[in-house]
């Protein structure tokens, strides 16, 4: 089988941004033509191996924002993925040859369905959905990203956590041979993140496998990464190889590295500033050299869906 590098993909094969942005008009026209005959989901997720290959049977989501997504180039060249280097363009440069097949995900801990799953089998029972979400980095910049993924809540339900499962922990692959960043102990590898079971079964989080209707590029966390839109970006762990259900709060990488700077919750919160970045405003990537910063919204604007999760929690202390 011929595995093409991203540089081999001709520009003509990539949906132009303009066409992409017109897709709604196109979909609407299709819906009218089919006069409502479009069947509800019940598709099984299939994700080709090749980066940039088209994803099919992707449904739209009411949770998507109407804001204009960032360009494909911005989203794929400006990344924090320290396994591939600490510079923003390092992952784009260093992740090109990253192997995303064969890929396994180990599920263990407090759940009925545990074991090691092949990636393709793991995602098969679920539906692919496009979710256009705001992404807010703790470094006070933000983007709008058209992810394609599967609902994390659906995955969690499928794995049948036991009554003891209060948290879900995630781990990134730790492969020094392929990931130049992990050869130095910048963080305590492997990268780890976690959510409470209530957060993980909320309707918003997804496990993303695609971007702009195509297979997710390596530098964005291929083949499968978490997206939790109301939390700072570092919670949305990339290239996941392990999912563990635990009774006690799992350790998380940035919290281990600098506990006074990064908490377990890491909800986007304009009122709790970081020692190095005011969180009151954010720079929208792609807005240009002279654009004003935008005011940061509580829970990154997703309060309607998630504020109830924290009604008994002091968010100043549990940052």
């Amino acid at each position: 089988m011929l595995i093409r590098k991203p540089t081999d993909i001709r520009p003509s094969e990539i949906t132009s941004e303009e066409n992409y942005l017109n897709r709604r008009a196109f979909m609407k026209a299709g819906l009218i033509a089919g006069s409502g005959l479009v069947a509800p989901s019940a598709m099984s997720a299939v994700v080709p191996e090749t980066q940039g290959a088209d994803l099919t049977d992707v449904s739209k989501s009411p949770f998507s924002t109407d804001e204009e997504p960032n360009s494909y180039e911005d989203i794929t060249t400006y990344n924090n993925f320290y396994e591939f280097g600490t510079g923003k363009a390092d992952p784009y440069r260093n992740a090109e040859d990253f192997r995303t097949r064969p890929w396994t995900i180990t599920v263990d801990g407090e759940a009925e369905k545990t074991g090691t799953f092949d990636f393709d089998d793991f995602i098969k029972p679920f539906d692919l959905e496009e979710r256009i979400y705001r992404l807010r980095c703790v470094e006070a910049w933000s983007m709008v990203v058209p992810w394609v993924g599967i609902s994390l809540a659906d995955v969690i339900k499928y794995l049948q956590p036991t009554s003891k499962a209060r948290y879900v922990a995630f781990e990134t692959l730790n492969d020094p041979a392929q990931m130049p960043g992990v050869r130095r102990r910048i963080l305590d590898w492997p990268y780890r993140e976690g959510l409470t079971i209530e957060e993980a079964t909320n309707e918003l989080p997804i496990l993303a496998v695609g971007l702009y209707g195509k297979v997710i590029p390596n530098q964005n966390g291929a083949p499968i990464r978490l997206v939790v839109p109301w939390k700072y970006g570092f919670k949305s762990i990339k290239s996941i190889v392990r999912i563990r259900f635990t009774e006690r709060q799992p350790q998380t990488s940035w919290n281990l590295s600098a506990p006074h700077e990064y908490g377990f919750y890491a909800n986007v919160n304009p009122d709790v500033s970081h020692p190095r970045w005011s969180q009151a405003r954010e720079r929208r990537i792609g807005a240009g050299l002279f654009a004003d910063k935008l005011p940061t919204q509580m829970f990154n604007g997703y309060g309607e869906q998630v504020a109830h999760l924290y009604k008994d929690l002091d968010l100043r202390r549990n940052y």
């Binding site: 923003k88 363009a89 720079r283 050299l289």
Partner: protein
């Protein structure tokens, strides 16, 4: 052409043009090919000017040790220009932050200076450099007497604050600020060793 003339008419203009190159380069990119600055051009400009400010600061602090170690007294005549280039790049770094990053929003600017320690020390270093640049003229230097030397000795403090400013805003990968810290330590260490040697020499003569 005498040596003095060579320095004035050839060497100094060469150093001047070389010092401007990083600014000309980034200005040309910004105007002609903005996409080369990446997805976050404001951050790219901030980093560019900050890094070059750091290098000119270190080169300025290297003039005296290199002059003494190699026995090139004329190097001293380039020190002011290099120091002013350090100030120029710090000024550009500061203006990028003030205008492009903060959008001249006074409230957030004051809050950042007061609450973000790495910004606080950056501002202190900037103000000291500003005072040094403003008093860098020969006539002012003569008129200020001993006060001039006292003020300009703060260049050592500025060097420390500059490296610290960078160190403090790095999230986890300290390789680059560590490089600057090592160079700065060597340059300041040389001066300490030099001072310690002098009294010993005097004793020996006596």
């Amino acid at each position: 052409m005498t040596k003095t003339q060579k320095i004035r008419w050839i060497a100094k203009p060469l150093v001047f043009v070389t010092g401007l190159l990083p600014a000309i380069w980034i200005a040309a990119l910004t105007v002609l090919q903005p996409s080369a600055l990446g997805a976050n051009p404001v951050e790219a400009l901030l980093d560019h000017f900050g890094i070059w400010a750091m290098w000119f600061m270190l080169i300025a602090l290297a003039v005296t040790p290199v002059r003494k170690l190699l026995g090139w007294p004329s190097l001293a005549r380039f020190r002011r220009m290099i120091g002013l280039f350090a100030f120029f790049y710090v000024l550009m770094h500061f203006l990028t932050w003030l205008v492009l990053d903060q959008g001249l929003a006074l409230g957030p600017i004051l809050e950042d200076i007061a609450k973000r320690p790495f910004i606080t020390i950056g501002i202190v270093a900037f103000v000291l450099l500003l005072a040094m640049a403003a008093t860098s003229f020969t006539r002012l230097r003569q008129r200020m007497g001993r006060a001039w030397q006292t003020l300009h000795n703060s260049v050592y403090l500025v060097g420390v604050l500059g490296v610290w400013h960078y160190w403090w805003q790095v999230r986890a990968d300290f390789a680059e600020p560590l490089l600057y810290a090592v160079i700065l330590t060597a340059l300041l260490g040389y001066r300490v060793a030099d001072q310690l040697r002098k009294p010993a020499r005097r004793v020996a003569r006596a």
